[in-house]
């Protein structure tokens, strides 16, 4: 539904050139909820705005639906107002001089064929979708943040575009509202079956809402996959540290196999090796804190046992976070809040080999 090929965007500024997007390829299927996730400044918004036609990439090709909207090679640039898209901006961009009804009717009035009765019924329908019915005559500035966000959504949907673009639509909402809206929003676009390209820097949003996540860094996509894959099998240290908490143990591959073995400063760790790893390769073993447990028994075949001293304990409400010094490194783990642990005591940690994952350094 959306296909981006080898997209490059550069900005000319007074202080030289900013190379914001450096060769992005992606393919969003019909009806998919696709999220671009990454730290601030990694080029997510720029990519999204290129799809909308608000930026002028200097290389690449973009197809929306069956319309070729951008091809730098063939010199095709379709302006935004001729693309079949709806977009929700981060600031919502509600026009303050128009009321709720007219804000939503705006896109319809730009279409030649719609009659005024037609407009009225379509606006009503769009407002009902986002539960804003009854507020038609309200001047747009007199809406709460959540209502503005829904108004922006109604305006983006009223034309029934084939593609919906969302740029951090929840970032201006307070925490509680954001949580509720996450589910509502996903439910709504899924019900309409609309293809959605979503931009966020909030991992929780990405994990809970998406069908597919593309993690971006420095203007490139580093990894793409389902939320589960991205979380469970981060491809490199950046993805692992950006999504969730991770422990990192640097080392070298000692033995191949399933599981393989990696020699680290905290001892030899049995873990899953990256594809094509060879003995002696430098790797980083990634372990999620929740996969580490305290255990006094002996090590099973596919388990690692490490011994260390508890350095710090932090009470987090729903968990105790402990930091255990193992060799020269500290390993963090999460325990049930009622666990009886004491600072300074020596403990044994159990790390199942299946949840230790070596990535290339």
């Amino acid at each position: 539904m959306i296909r981006i090929e080898d997209l490059h965007v550069r900005y000319q500024t007074e202080r030289g050139e900013v190379y914001a997007v450096r060769g992005i390829d992606l393919d969003v299927k019909q009806g998919q909820f696709f999220t671009l996730l990454g730290p601030s400044g990694c080029g997510k918004t720029t990519t999204l705005r290129s799809v909308a036609g608000l930026e002028r990439p200097y290389q690449g090709e973009i197809v929306v639906g069956d319309q070729l909207v951008l091809s730098c090679r063939r010199n095709v640039v379709v302006p935004p107002y001729k693309r079949d898209i709806g977009m929700v901006f981060q600031s919502y961009a509600i026009w303050p001089h128009l009321n709720v009804f007219e804000n939503v009717a705006f896109p319809l009035r730009e279409m030649k064929k719609s009659s005024s009765g037609d407009i009225r019924s379509r606006v009503r329908k769009a407002l009902a979708l986002v539960q804003l019915d009854g507020l038609e005559d309200r001047p747009a500035p007199f809406l709460s943040g959540g209502q503005q966000q829904r108004l922006a959504l109604a305006r983006a949907l009223v034309k029934e575009p084939r593609v919906l673009l969302l740029d951090e639509p929840l970032s201006n909402l307070d925490a509680k509202l954001r949580e509720e809206t996450r589910f509502e929003l996903r439910e709504l676009v899924k019900r309409l079956g609309i293809t959605t390209l979503y931009v966020t820097h909030d991992q929780l949003e990405a994990l809970t809402m998406s069908d597919v996540i593309a993690v971006m860094d420095g203007g490139q996509i580093v990894q793409r996959g389902t939320p589960h894959d991205i979380y469970a099998a981060p491809k490199n240290r950046f993805v692992a540290s950006f999504i969730g908490l991770s422990n990192f143990l640097e080392g070298r591959v000692k033995a191949l196999g399933a599981p393989g073995e990696v020699e680290t400063s905290s001892g030899v760790i049995k873990c899953l090796l990256p594809d094509g790893a060879a003995a002696g390769d430098e790797v980083i073993v990634v372990i999620r804190p929740e996969d580490v447990t305290l255990n006094d028994g002996a090590a099973g075949a596919n388990e690692n046992m490490l011994e260390g001293k508890i350095e710090a304990i932090v009470f987090m409400g729903d968990a105790l976070e402990c930091q255990v010094a193992v060799g020269a490194k500290a390993i963090r783990l999460k325990l049930h809040p009622s666990s009886a642990v004491a600072k300074g005591s020596t403990v044994r940690l159990k790390l199942p080999a299946a949840s230790c994952r070596a990535v290339r350094a």
């Binding site: 705006f106 730009e110 034309k159």
Partner: protein
């Protein structure tokens, strides 16, 4: 593709238009300064030379001219800024009572035409007829001290007072937006209030203060009416009046080329200050510490000076609005000019007002003025809007240059603009503009372009970029977006600029005086100037009174619109 080509054509069209409007008169001004032909009409490239420069700058009196101008400009700018800082500080940072009077009153003083204020001062302080001087003589006898307004000091005082409202309007937001925690940080670091004021407050304000000062000096430099009314009769010339004197009051044939040569000083200053000012402004913006809106700087406790401070502030309003108005109102009922006394009140009459209604020239001047201000204001709004749209909202390659081009005319006084146009319209005689009110309209439009674009730039910057982009992705092409998003959002600014231009175009005498050519394009300001020159003081007082009343009403209207705009921005932002 087609669309972007069309947009690019539009942008180039606007750019070329502004380029022509600004540079064409300037180039004629420059060429004319080298012309040895006596009249602009005889100008040709074969009669060029440095004669004008030599005769102007080698003249001994030119030294006096420079000295006078520097004293006048420096003195009035200094006086203006001191008064303005004091007033702004009083209303923003102290607990003086009755601030609302100043918030409303100080900007209102802008409505007072400088020409009329100067005339009012003459009526009060002229050594011969001045009411105050007459009273003093009555009380103290012939040996009484005489206050003479026809002096440099008189000009400095009046112009200083006139500079206050603009500076006040620039300073108030600065003082308001200054983050109090910066001063508090100095205080908890052990600085006493006085040294906090000196080391932090003033340092932070410094770039902005310098910018305001330059702006003020430029304004003082180009004002014509004050030195015209107060200086010309006494033979005290500053630049603007000297240029006028060369062109208009010389008994023999005027030497236009010399006026041009003298005006070159302005052109140089214009270019220099444009560069300097834009630099400073960007520095000032960097310094301006606008933090959360909730902040309210701590207020300085004036103690027992609260009431005296308020009275002093009110005295400023009295001097700039009430006094001139009362003087004019009084004089407008007199059959002939005399100092206020019981006898004078007995002979008061409505004759002057009746005469105005019967005097044909007043009618035609009013009609001309009406046409002129309406076209000027409308053209200024339209041109400024499209220029600012390109400057602020497009990626047009020359948008910075366009912005500066639009700013240049600000530094060029009306008198000089007038001379430049005089040459232009005489030379481009296929355009039937010379001697019409359209000539004045075009000249004013260019002069006001800098104000118009400054306002529009600021207002356009307030409109979040995504409001525009949301229209594009909603399917609106650029011109529809302009029509449906920008124009309605900008409407308050349009109205504000429109009225501002009307307020100014109606009373500026400098440029129309140069371009005036008989009754065909006589406007109100010239009529008043000429009648004053010929000594019809009570009649001038009658017109002046009516003009003051209408301008004050218009200003109140602007204020009301201003408040509305403020409210809209708050909800829209």
């Amino acid at each position: 593709m087609n669309e972007s080509l069309r947009i690019s054509l539009w942008q180039h069209g606007i750019f070329l238009l502004v380029l022509f409007l600004v540079l064409a008169p300037l180039s004629f001004l420059i060429l004319g300064s080298f012309s040895t032909a006596r009249l602009p009409g005889d100008f040709s490239l074969h009669t060029m030379g440095l004669v004008n420069y030599i005769s102007v700058y080698a003249d001994a009196s030119t030294l006096d001219l420079f000295a006078n101008t520097i004293i006048y400009v420096g003195g009035s700018a200094a006086l203006g800024i001191v008064l303005a800082v004091a007033l702004a500080w009083l209303v923003e940072r102290t607990n003086m009572p009755g601030k609302i009077f100043l918030y409303a009153g100080v900007p209102t003083t802008l409505a007072m035409p400088g020409m009329l204020q100067a005339m009012a001062w003459v009526l009060l302080f002229s050594p011969r007829i001045g009411f105050v001087n007459t009273w003093m003589k009555d009380i103290f006898g012939p040996g009484a001290p005489v206050i003479d307004v026809y002096t440099l000091e008189g000009m400095i005082c009046l112009e200083g007072v006139r500079l206050v409202p603009t500076a006040f309007l620039m300073l108030v937001p600065l003082m308001r937006s200054m983050d109090p925690s910066l001063e508090e940080a100095a205080a908890v670091s052990g600085a006493r209030p006085a040294s906090t004021l000196r080391k932090v407050t003033l340092k932070l304000l410094a770039p902005a203060l310098v910018a305001v000062m330059i702006y003020q000096a430029m304004t003082a430099l180009e004002v014509f009416e004050i030195p015209g009314i107060l200086g010309l009769p006494a033979g005290i010339y500053v630049f603007s009046t000297k240029i006028y004197a060369i062109v208009r009051t010389a008994t023999f044939m005027p030497v236009y080329g010399q006026a041009n040569a003298l005006a070159m000083v302005y052109v140089l200053i214009a270019v220099a200050t444009t560069v300097l000012y834009t630099r400073l402004i960007s520095r000032a913006e960097r310094y301006t510490i606008v933090t959360g809106k909730g902040y309210r700087p701590r207020q300085f406790d004036l103690g027992r000076w609260r009431i005296p401070a308020f009275i002093a502030a009110l005295f400023f309003l009295f001097i700039s609005i009430v006094l001139p108005f009362v003087v004019f109102l009084y004089a407008s009922f007199l059959p002939y000019l005399q100092a206020p006394s019981a006898a004078a009140f007995k002979v008061m009459t409505l004759k002057n007002y009746r005469l105005l209604a019967e005097y044909g020239e007043v009618g035609s001047a009013l009609r001309n003025t009406f046409m002129m201000v309406v076209t000027t204001a409308t053209a200024t709004v339209a041109l400024s809007f499209v220029v600012s749209l390109v400057v602020v909202r497009s990626k047009f390659w020359a948008r910075k240059l366009l912005d500066q081009l639009a700013f240049v005319p600000h530094a060029i006084p009306g008198i000089v603009m007038g001379i430049a146009f005089f040459w232009l319209f005489l030379k481009l005689d296929f355009l039937p503009l010379y001697g019409t009110i359209w000539a004045i309209s075009i000249g004013f439009t260019i002069s006001f372009l800098s104000y118009g674009t400054r306002s529009m730039n600021a207002a356009l910057l307030q409109i979040h970029k995504e409001l525009e982009e949301a229209a594009y992705v909603s399917g609106a092409p650029p011109w529809r977006t302009m029509w449906r998003v920008f124009v309605p959002l900008m409407m308050p600014t349009f109205v504000g600029v429109w009225i501002w231009v009307v307020l100014h175009a109606v009373r500026i005498a400098g440029m129309p005086l140069i371009l005036a050519e008989g009754p065909g394009n006589q406007v109100l300001a010239i009529l008043i100037w000429n009648m004053w020159d010929e000594g019809y003081v009570p009649a001038v007082a009658a017109i002046g009174t009516l003009l003051m009343i209408s301008l004050l009403l218009l200003t109140v209207l602007v204020r009301i619109i201003g408040f509305r705009r403020h409210a809209m921005q708050m909800v829209g932002g």
